[in-house]
Amino acid sequence: GGIITQTPKFLIGQEGQKLTLKCQQNFNHDTMYWYRQDSGKGLRLIYYSITENDLQKGDLSEGYDASREKKSSFSLTVTSAQKNEMAVFLCASSINGPFNQDTQYFGPGTRLLVL
């Protein structure tokens, strides 16, 4: 088995601040994903990466940057935090992909609150 680790678990930021979220997986999966989850809503794709140094925009990429430094890690940057923003950011990985029948494995999430 494997695990996906997301750091930090909680992130409190100030309006306009640049914030970075990190994700590590030890599945040796090729594809990694970043999703945003708002309360009572489904997941929306921000970025995904099919291999090291690859980056693909999702439906919600504006206001975010991402980086796949190595196969096991995928980081997400909120370029300018919005006041009163509150959401959970979920990282996931899949063995191949993207978006085929492979199961996506999810991390526990990073909870963001912007004051």
């Binding site: 009572g40 489904g42 997941l43 979920l90 993207p98 978006f99 085929n100 029948q101 494995y105 999810f106």
Partner: protein
């Protein structure tokens, strides 16, 4: 374009009762279909998935789902729920090598 709808935001059932969580999808071709569960303060975990074949697919913890092409549905069922089944359940659809779309989720509350 493909989309997925979970018409019930919240479902409350008594422990031991049967359960059905509804999922409708919109797609020009039969998509890959998934049900994921999210327990409090955790990521999503796969319950079951369907690509083809027997329209009733078995998942973990006694869950099953039935695909209906005529109704464009993929409803999740369980014969007898336990309090530990309380969670948010997400239906998701994907066309091969295309995006995966998640529904808004259904919060299941199991009363003792």
């Amino acid at each position: 374009a493909q989309s997925v709808t979970q018409p019930d935001a919240r479902v409350t059932v008594s422990e031991g009762a049967s359960l059905q969580l509804r999922c409708k999808y919109s797609s020009s071709v039969t998509p890959y279909l998934f049900w994921y569960v999210q327990y409090p303060r955790q990521g999503l975990q796969l319950l079951l998935k369907y690509y083809s074949g027997d329209p009733v697919v078995q998942g973990v913890n006694g869950f099953e789902a039935e695909f209906s092409k005529s109704n464009s549905s993929f409803h999740l069922r369980k014969a007898s729920v336990h309090w530990s089944d309380s969670a948010v359940y997400f239906c998701a659809v994907s066309i091969s090598n295309n995006r995966i779309f998640f529904g808004d989720g259904t919060q299941l509350v199991v009363k003792p």
